[in-house]
Symmetry: C2
Subunit: 400 residues, 2 copies
DNA sequence: CTATTAAGTCAATTCGCTTGACTTAATTAG
DNA sequence: CTAATTAAGTCAAGCGAATTGACTTAATAG
């Protein structure tokens, strides 16, 4: 033994893993179905009534579920439904974008309890992190005013920022190279005392859609996010997929045609960055969001021209995504004003034919997800909640 | 309760699940690392020595592992390595292609124990199935001559055929519409008495690469398969990904550019079908494989012209795959002769820039996988083996 | 030759799910 | 109105698989 190369093996499990999994399964079942009786839970999870009873008792003691009034329905003893207690857990979500940062606290069911935002200097992490830690402290204080146990129930801090991560150094400020180099997670962990996790903004969007949006309870969905860049958040087999290096879904960097290295990446043509350029706007400009919203509502011809061209590329992206992933649905989300996102979705129809064109579809091929600018921060916050409470393979295994 | 809509919930688990998982973890560890001592297994899986001892004893009784001679190495008591017993399990793999069918038996470690092939009439499942059942019976008989316990140790029958599945009816014979309609799995299950599973040919290729090829022990790999059509087999998080409807990876149907419904699917330009057309060959022709191999070795100019054009499209496919999946490596496999596949891989270099271009890569971005024409059948056979013996989330849960 | 190191076993324990009988409380049939 | 039926939920004993900690075995280092 004791070769130089480590032994490759998955971790084993034991009764703790079993129990942890079953707890998570209960929580997920209550999340997806609303209040359920113990008997219902037993049937749905294939556990015995007794096992369910014990677990529910545990969860109740931990303040994660609560009994509702008994319900009479048909023969037999009335049943007591249990539901999740929203304030049973909280998480903080942090969005770091080029010129601004947003922080939210969400509860166990994904509701926003507190929020704060501030401007950031472009690509200067040191002052940026000071600002961020200030906002985090603010929302924590605010939360403490709402729930006395808030600190004990904080499960983590999720960070979302534009990817991809870990590539060669860049000198494009808009790629935030200094942030990429900065030891962000360590600094935040030290500054907040919380567990910190990172995902890219599209993944955060997908996580948000999964916990409170169009992907709730859908196991195979792709969330196409159109922000300053373009990326896709991938929900595969009911879990977010990150790829080998955390950069899965960076579809904005896909070249649009096979014809050589000269062809354009998608995000040069269909992202909001391209729109700003097309309109000659400064992305850092105040009131940009409102201005874009107004232009979209007025169907401004220059905006419409961009929409047409972008929609053509995005239509093709959806085609690719469907062809490659075979998802149940594709969700378009954006940091643009809803009016603009609607125009895009409209202009994307009719969609290109693909294998998603099946006889027995249940969900629409393409739907508009949230355009709430806070969605990314919410998704960032949802990640630690999901990590702590959703059933997943890794939660069963021992250790990390 | 008893709403019409069923309750959505994952299944719970118990000690059986724990035990099943731990067994699988042991088997995988031995598969990936070769022979290991109990102590090594305990360290690698984070289980206690005692737990490992019990499980190994079990596996030994089941004939799945066997002790080797004790090894002295440094201080302490010599250790006894255990290794997998190849003949501990068998599975049958079936490839159904347009004009032919292949059947193989593989053992627990993926070695081929018996094989048989026959011609099939194009898209006529009824006589086809008779042929297939005959071949299956043949290889079973052959296997019985090798291993006395073979029948008891057969874990299933895996089927691979060209996808996609379940779309609208087609009248293109080459899409095998009659096979698509035919109740294949039920017929085969009834005719063989085995568990039957289905995957598309690219997925089978990926499964083969995973069990015995370039993807052995790699958790994120995409296997680009170039056959009569083109598709990708996706290994994500160490498991084959099938998508919402079993059609993930059908990249051959991807349109090559955003410019409208008129543009060509990848597989019209880069598949072997396109090569046959380019050369004016009949795909059903005898000796086609050898002829192609000879042409490739001779660097025939017409072949080279096709290679150039196909490589341009495939280069871009690799770029897309890397951008979208962020895999550790991309493996090119093909049913074409190895010489031709080599030409393709050569012509695909240099690859397009992508996020896979990272400072600290360990695996090549693109590598040539197997070009053994039997690989698909082997992959088909590997699927039941994997289902029965590899650690996976679903194996922990109760029921199906 | 002794101390040390490491593999592996033994026997008791623990923990969480299961089993099967039982209690409670409603509806429905007569 | 009563008895039968149905279903939720509890009780207590049982069981199975991993854990624990002491112990045995067998090698090397000094």
């Amino acid at each position: 033994m004791h070769d130089i190369r480590p032994i490759r093996a998955k971790s084993g499990t034991n009764q703790e893993g079993t129990s942890a999994h079953n707890r998570r399964v209960m929580i997920e079942a209550l999340r997806l179905n609303g209040a359920l009786s113990r008997a219902d839970l037993a049937r749905a999870t294939q556990l015995t009534k007794q096992a369910v009873s014990n677990i529910i008792e545990d969860l109740e003691q931990d303040g994660l579920v609560v009994a509702l009034d008994a319900v009479r329905k048909g023969r037999g003893q009335p049943f007591t439904p249990y539901r999740l207690v929203p304030e049973g857990a909280f998480a903080i979500g942090l969005q770091i974008d080029r010129h601004l940062t947003r922080v939210v606290v969400v509860d166990l069911v994904g509701k926003v309890m507190a929020r704060a935002e501030a401007n950031l200097p472009l690509d200067e992490p040191s002052p940026g992190v000071r600002t961020i830690l200030g906002l985090v402290a603010d929302v924590r204080r605010e939360l403490a005013g709402i729930s006395t146990q808030s600190e004990r129930r904080l499960v983590g801090l999720g960070v979302a920022m534009p990817g991809p991560f870990g590539l060669k150094e860049s000198d494009d400020k808009w790629m935030m190279p200094a942030w990429q180099q900065f030891p962000l997670l360590e600094t935040l962990a030290a500054g907040t005392g919380l567990n910190v996790g990172l995902q890219n903004d599209a993944a955060a969007c997908a996580t948000a859609e999964r916990i409170v949006g169009a992907a709730h309870g859908v196991d195979h969905a792709v969330c196409l996010y159109i922000g300053y860049g373009i990326a896709a958040g991938l929900i595969l087999n009911g879990e977010l997929y990150n790829g080998g290096n955390g950069n899965a879904g960076e579809i904005g960097r896909a070249l649009l045609s096979p014809t050589g290295p000269g062809s354009t990446p998608l995000e040069h043509r269909a992202s909001l960055a391209s729109l700003y350029q097309h309109l000659g706007l400064d992305p850092a400009e105040r009131g940009l969001y409102e201005k874009l919203g107004a232009l979209a509502l007025a169907q401004d011809p220059r905006v419409m021209a961009w929409v047409e061209r972008a929609a053509s590329d995005l239509r093709w992206s959806v085609h690719l995504i469907e062809t490659i992933f075979d998802p149940q649905t594709v969700i378009l989300t954006s940091s643009a004003p809803e009016a603009l996102a609607r125009l895009l979705v409209q202009a994307m129809h009719p969609l290109l034919p693909s294998i998603a064109d099946r006889p027995a579809r249940r969900l629409p091929r393409l739907q508009l997800g949230t355009t709430d600018p806070w969605a990314i921060a919410v998704g960032a916050a949802a990640e630690p909640i999901s990590r702590a409470f959703d059933p997943r393979f890794s939660a069963i295994l021992k250790a990390g």
